[in-house]
Each structure stands twice: as C-alpha cells, then as structure tokens.
C-alpha cells in the first residue's frame, strides 16, 4: 500500500535548482533507501516532505490524500516522523521529557506527570534495548545513546511514515544492528520507512526499494533493490561512469612540501593525520559528511587544540594558535559556510576583500585609508572578474558566485602560500563553478599550495592533483588523480567503504 508518494516535486533556491521533478514512493511495510551524493538534493527533499521548505511544483500525497505541511509540527501530527541528521534534543532535559516533548500535558497549564512520562518513555527505550533510566538528563548520554533517544522519540509518535536521515552516522556497528532489528520490526508492523545513508552495505542489508538522486533529479525512482547490484547503485549516484575531465593531469611539482602534517592529532578528534602539499600542488581532501575534513582545516588553523604530531610550514615545525598566526605563516582558509563564516554580509565588497590586508596596510599610526586598501584589492577583484557595481556595494547583494570570488580574493590579496578551500562550489551555478576551478588552477600554476576540500567527486577529479581520503577523522589513503573518473571514484569509494566492510 502506498503510504507516501512524492510526484514531480521541484524546488529552486536563488541560483540553484535543488530539485527538478523528483518522484519517490514509500510503501507501508517496506524500507526505502534514498541515496545520492552530497548536494544531490536528499536533504532538500526531506525538508519539503516535512514542511520546512515549500515545494515550487509537484505534489505529495499520504495514503492517497494530497498533503502540504506548513511546518514539521503538522507533519508529525499527520503521521510523518523524522529523525534528522543533526541531533535535536534539549540536553538539560531528561530522556523521558525529550521523547515526550510534544506531549507533556494536554494544555499549557497542565501539570507534567513525570511518572507517566517515564513509564511511557521506558516502553520505547526497552524497544531500543536502551538500558537507561528515563529520568537521566540527555547531557549525560553518549552520542550513540542520544541518537537512539531521537529514534525513540520518532517511534513514540507511532508514525505511519518514518524518515531517518543518516541514522547510523554516529552508531557503532552493533548499535546499528540493534537499530536495524527495530526497523525490521516496525516494517513488519506496516510502517513505511525512508532511510538515507551513505553506507551502501547498510542499504543493501535493510532496504527493499531505492530512489537515487543526482544533481536534483531522479537517477532512479523507487526501484526494487533486488534488481540492482552495488555497482549499479554507485553508477547511478555518481553519474555516467565515463565522465572524463577536460584537464590533463599535471606533473607533480618537485619543490619540497610547503605544508605538512605528521601524525597530527587534534582535540576535535583527528588521529594521526599525515599529509603534505607542495607549492603549486592541489591536494584534494575527500570524505563523506562528518568525516572531519572541515574540522581538520579549522583545527590546523588553531581553532582546536593540537594533541599530537607536528605541523610543518615551509619545512619548519610550527605551532598555530589562531587564524591570525596562520595568516602570518601564509595559510588562508575559504570557509564552506560562505555566509556564516566567510563573509560579513552587511559590509562592503571592499571591506570584505580587504579584511586580511588591513594589518599590513595600516600606516605607522594604525590609520588605514580606503584608497590604500582599494589599491591593493582592486586589481585582485578585477582579475577575478567580480561583478559588482562598485567596491562600496554591500556584499550580501551580490550573487553567490561573486561572493565566493570575493572570499577567495581576500586571501589572494593577502598573498597566502597555502590556501585551504572548503567546498568552493556549494550554492553557485555551473558557469561560476568552472571559473572557480580555473582560478584554483591558476593559483596553483602561480605557485600557491592548495588544499581543496569538497564532497563533490566530479569537482575533485576535475581539480585536484592527488586526493587524500578521510573517514572518521583519519586519513584512509591517497589516490593519484589521473582524471579517470571511474578509476579515481572507485578507488576513493573503496578506501571509504573498505574500512566499514572490514
């Protein structure tokens, strides 16, 4: 029986078509995998189903009736439960209260009956084989236990449709098996389960049908998983296998590494990370969401304590305690979160591009004239073809692509010798993306060492010279990039999934 049907749903965000006529059918009593690379549109689709975003076009029906949830609350009331990728718990509250958070009483002035809450909650905890006192504050739980509490919370709504967005990301294999046992039981009870995961082993283990998204479109729509094998699914996820890069592989520069990590460990959780980037080289750092790549960049910049190993810049061991120290050493970072961490949206293009050079341009008295800054950053902005009416334009008014150019420009203006670029093409159109790739290459040709972090395999194969593969805060291996998409992507996936299978 069809529990939830998504038909031809489209959704555009400024500059991007996130979903283009996507369809998917979830059936009661079956587990449905929703797959796709990062940025393929899975999260957007889930957000539309649960009423966080509104679809531009298309229809969603539950048990035959068209539904359009205005917010997650309505979705939950309509029988659609979700376990989101991020933890959503009130950590100071007890486990029981978190599970029953929307049912603490009939009305605002109802008395909270903690005994009843605990009794109801422990029913669900028992189902999850979670042996904890329901009155324990969530802040005392391990991450895996918190995850299970979230699942308990969704289960307790007795949803007819249950969506799980990467539910096993923070679980150990044995904890995941417990979860799967529960999911199978729920499935046998007739619940329709939507399951998002990057771990294909899990998908083949528990799912019955599969929908694959690629670049916001259906690569397949609700196909039985029995008819497919692993390679078929991977091929659908990453696109036509014979996709070939238009750039020739570049010879490795001979210079000694400019930047090197030796058995580097951080308080953020990285263990024994070793990698090196030569001047003029583009080293890719690939991994799935949560693998610890951006965290590595930030840790190296001094935002997390170094707990072991060595950072070497220009051949000398260094300690980096802050971004300012990193900049003094010639290391710059273009954040993946352009709007949140990279740019000051309310400030002008000039201020945003010049922020890194203020210190060096200020005169002896510490005074800084806009003219001086404009002289320094103007040529860089022109070279990058930043389209802005004037340097005084508020940067928030520029397109995503132009914003991204400015976030790169500020580091070029500062003359950094290593540029760490984190997800450069998130939220920008294809043309600017190609332009940015050219730009990264030009930078490298000019002798800058580049560390490129991206979850977009195509981009990785297009741009990087070598690819370091990270999983679970460790480097799993290094892949030479010969621009053969098939070979490189298979090698990368093997490194990531090899560990899981073992």
């Amino acid at each position: 029986m069809t529990a939830l049907k998504v038909s031809n749903v489209s959704k555009s965000f400024p500059g991007v078509k996130a979903l283009d006529a996507v369809s998917m059918t979830l059936t009661g009593g079956s587990v449905h995998a929703l797959l796709g690379e990062n940025g393929a549109g899975k999260s957007t689709l889930i957000k539309i189903m649960t009423g966080i975003h509104a679809a531009d076009q298309g229809e969603i029906t539950m048990e035959g009736r068209p539904v359009r949830f205005a917010n997650p609350r309505q979705a939950a009331a309509g029988g659609l439960g979700v376990v989101h990728q991020e933890r959503n718990l009130v950590t100071r509250f007890s486990v029981a209260e978190n599970i029953m958070l929307d049912r603490l009483g009939a009305n605002s002035l109802s008395r909270v009956d903690y005994k009843a809450l605990a009794a109801e909650a422990s029913r669900w905890l028992k189902q999850l084989d979670l042996d904890i006192d329901p009155m324990t504050p969530v802040s005392r739980l391990s991450v895996a236990q918190m995850q299970l509490v979230e699942i308990g919370k969704a289960l307790s709504l007795q949803s007819r449709v249950l969506l799980l967005d990467e539910p096993t990301a923070s679980l150990t294999p044995s904890e995941a098996q417990v979860l799967f046992r529960i999911l199978r039981k729920l499935r046998d009870d007739g619940v329709a389960i939507g399951f998002v995961s990057h771990k294909l082993e899990e998908v083949f283990d528990i799912c019955d049908t599969v929908t694959v998204l690629r670049d916001g479109k259906n690569a397949c729509d609700s196909q039985p998983l029995k008819t497919l094998n692993r390679d078929d699914v991977v091929k659908m996820m990453i696109g036509r296998a014979e996709r070939i890069s238009r750039r020739a592989p570049r010879p490795q520069p001979a210079a000694p590494p400019f930047f090197e990590l030796r058995d580097y460990s951080s308080a953020a959780g990285h263990e024994n990370v070793s990698l090196s980037v030569r001047p003029g080289e583009i080293l890719g750092l690939y991994g799935l969401v949560g693998a610890g790549r951006s965290e590595l960049a930030k840790a190296v910049l001094g935002l997390a304590r170094q707990t072991g190993g060595e950072i070497r810049v220009g051949g000398k061991p260094v300690k980096i305690g802050s971004v300012a120290e990193a900049l003094d050493l010639g290391v710059g970072y273009v954040s993946e979160d352009r709007k949140g961490e990279g740019l000051i949206l309310l400030h002008s293009v000039l201020d945003n591009a010049g922020i890194t050079v203020w210190k060096s341009l200020a005169n002896a008295l510490g005074f800084l004239r806009d003219g001086t800054v404009a002289q320094k950053v103007g040529p860089v902005l022109r070279k990058l073809e930043v389209k802005t009416p004037s340097l005084d334009q508020t940067i928030g008014n520029l397109s995503g692509g132009n914003q991204q150019k400015v976030s790169v420009a500020k580091w070029i203006a500062a003359g950094v010798k290593l540029l760490i670029i984190d997800e450069p093409s998130v939220g920008i159109d294809i043309k600017t993306k190609a332009y940015l790739h050219d730009l990264i290459h030009e930078l490298a040709e000019a002798g800058t060492a580049v560390l490129l972090i991206t979850s977009d395999l195509t981009e990785m194969v297009d741009v990087a010279d070598r690819v370091a593969v990270m999983d679970d805060y460790r480097i799993e291996g290094l892949v030479e990039n010969d621009r053969n998409y098939e070979r490189v992507s298979t090698a990368i996936m093997a490194l990531i999934h090899g560990r899981e299978a073992a």
Partner: protein
C-alpha cells in the same frame, strides 16, 4: 559534597550566610527586628522583579521593558483607585490584567516579527514609559488607600512583613511552573534548544507569548507591591529595576543563553544584593563601592557557571 555544589543555590546561599554572620558581628544592629523588616520588604519586591526577568532569561531572551511595565501598572493601580474610587481588590485585578496584556503584546510582536527581544522590549520600554508620563504628567498619584499602605508597611508578626506573602506565592508559583507545568517546561525547552523544540512540535510563538505575559504579570505584582511600600503612585517606579533584575538570576546560576534557571538561586541572588545595599547604609560606605562589589559578584557568578559547564563538557568527553 560535589553533588551539593552542583545545585545552583548552594554557592549564593553560602555567600549570604557568611555575609549575614560577618555583618552582624561587626554591626549587631543588622539583626534588629526593624532592620530585618526593612531588609525582607526590599527582598520581597526585588524577588518578584527578578522572577519577571527570570522567565524571559529562561527562554533565552531579555526584557528591557520590565520596569516600564511595572511603572505603568503601578500608576494605573493608584489612578483607578484615586480617580474612580475603584476598590483595591478590583484595582489589583486591573493592574494584573494591564501587566499581563502588555507582556503578551510584547511577546506577540517578538514571536511574530522574529526581531530580537532586545530591540522590541527596548522600544516597549520607551512606549510604556511614555504612556506612564503621559498619564501622570510626571506627578505622583497620592490617593493610596490605607489598607494598601498597611499591606506594604506592616508586619504579619515580629519582623515578617506582609509583602513576603506575594513573594512566596510568586516564587513557589514560578518554581512549580518551571518544574511541573507544561508551559514552564516548554519555555525551558525553547530556551535550551529552539530547533529541537520546534521540530518536536512545540508551538514556539505561543510559548514566547506565554513567557512574556508571565513576565508582565510579575512586573505588575512588583509594581503594585512598590506602591504599597512607598504609599504613593510614583511615576518613577520601575526605572531602576533593570540591572538587579539581571544580576540576581545570573548570581543564582541562570544561563543567559536560556534553558536553565534556578528560582532558589535567584532568591539568594536577591538576598545578596539586598545585603550589600544594606551594608552601605550600616557602615556608611561610599555607594560606588557597592557598585564595584555587585559587578564583581556578577563576574564571579558567571565564572562559576562557566567553570561548571566546562567541567560537564570534560566529563562527557571522558566518557
């Protein structure tokens, strides 16, 4: 022992104890019945004011208009009695209604516009203060009935003032709200993790309006308590509430980001501030010293809270 110190109120309570013992050794008149009566009256009013801010801190916001609510209610309370001869009990209900409505209106604007509570209540402060001055033309109302004056200045027995009664009701009520009522838990949930609360199906708008309405109600109670104590309807009532309304909850362990407050801790925070202010009079200390001590106390309290957070984080990491 460590468990005991995990309670927010233990630290401030110890400070109170040490202060009381110390001051009374140096200045035995500190424990005179009259002095205790004065001290308890001040504590009673300031506690209700602090609770009015506490409920907004719990949801992770701030209410700069608290004093303006209280001042407006105070003068309206006296005005209806003086100008229209309304009996005190009815005037009291009118005052409670005005405070609650003003709070609810402010909460509604905050929840609906998504503009920060800081800005909205800053505007509210101006508006309600303006209405206050418009009504009073900056002149006090003097027509406070004797029964109201008595309530504000008489003792139940010994050194225990009648003003303690509304304070106890408000304190127990707020403790019950935060720990036992659905709306109290929702206020803390929204303050603790707004996204989680929203995704769990909690009506954020309604919760914010509730919090501000309760804040307005408490401001109204405090405003009318001050009328009883001062025996006139002063237009300046509420002007000086702001600093101590934040200081007491913070000393009592409240997290300004929201989600965690302590009614008992706030009580001891209020007592500490009252004792410091009293010490000023008893020892004829320069007022500026009091300011410095109060500032240092706030830093100390925030420091303790921060230390505990770090310790909890470390414990979690170790696990």
């Amino acid at each position: 022992m460590n468990r005991l110190f995990d309670n927010d109120w233990v630290g401030p309570a110890l400070v109170c104890l040490v202060a009381v013992v110390g001051i009374s050794i140096l200045q035995p008149s500190f424990l005179s019945p009259f002095n205790i009566l004065v001290l308890l009256s001040a504590i009673a009013v300031n506690m209700v004011i602090a609770l009015g801010q506490l409920v907004i801190i719990a949801i992770g916001q701030m209410n700069l208009a608290l004093g303006a609510f209280g001042g407006l209610v105070a003068i309206c309370f006296v005005a209806v009695m003086e100008l229209y001869g309304v009996p005190p009990v009815i005037a009291l209900l009118i005052g409670l209604a005005i405070g609650t409505a003003a709070g609810a209106a402010s909460g509604f604007v905050i929840a609906r516009t998504g503009i920060s509570a800081f800005i909205i209540t800053l505007a509210g402060l101006q508006i309600f203060k303006g209405i206050n001055l418009g009504i009073t033309e900056a002149q006090p109302f003097y027509g406070v009935p004797q029964s109201v004056k008595d309530f504000g200045n008489h003792a139940i027995f010994g050194p225990i003032p009648w003003l303690i009664v509304p304070m106890i009701i408000a304190s127990v009520g707020m403790w019950y709200l935060f720990n036992r009522l659905r709306i109290g838990r929702y206020i803390l949930a929204v303050g603790g993790n707004r996204t989680a609360a929203e995704l769990s199906g909690i009506n954020i708008t309604a919760t914010i309006i509730w919090a501000h309405a309760i804040s307005g109600l408490l401001a109204a109670i405090a405003g009318m308590m001050l009328v009883a104590r001062l025996q006139i309807g002063q237009p300046t009532i509420g002007d000086d509430w702001l600093i101590s309304s934040f200081a007491a909850p913070v000393i009592g362990g409240a997290v300004l980001a929201g989600g965690h407050v302590s009614v008992a801790g706030t009580f001891f925070g209020v007592v500490i501030i009252a004792i410091i202010t009293q010490a000023l009079v008893l020892f004829a200390i320069d007022p500026f010293v009091v300011q410095i001590v109060l500032g240092a106390l706030i830093l100390w309290a925030v420091g303790i809270n921060r230390y505990r957070e770090i310790r909890v984080a470390k414990l979690n990491e170790a696990r």
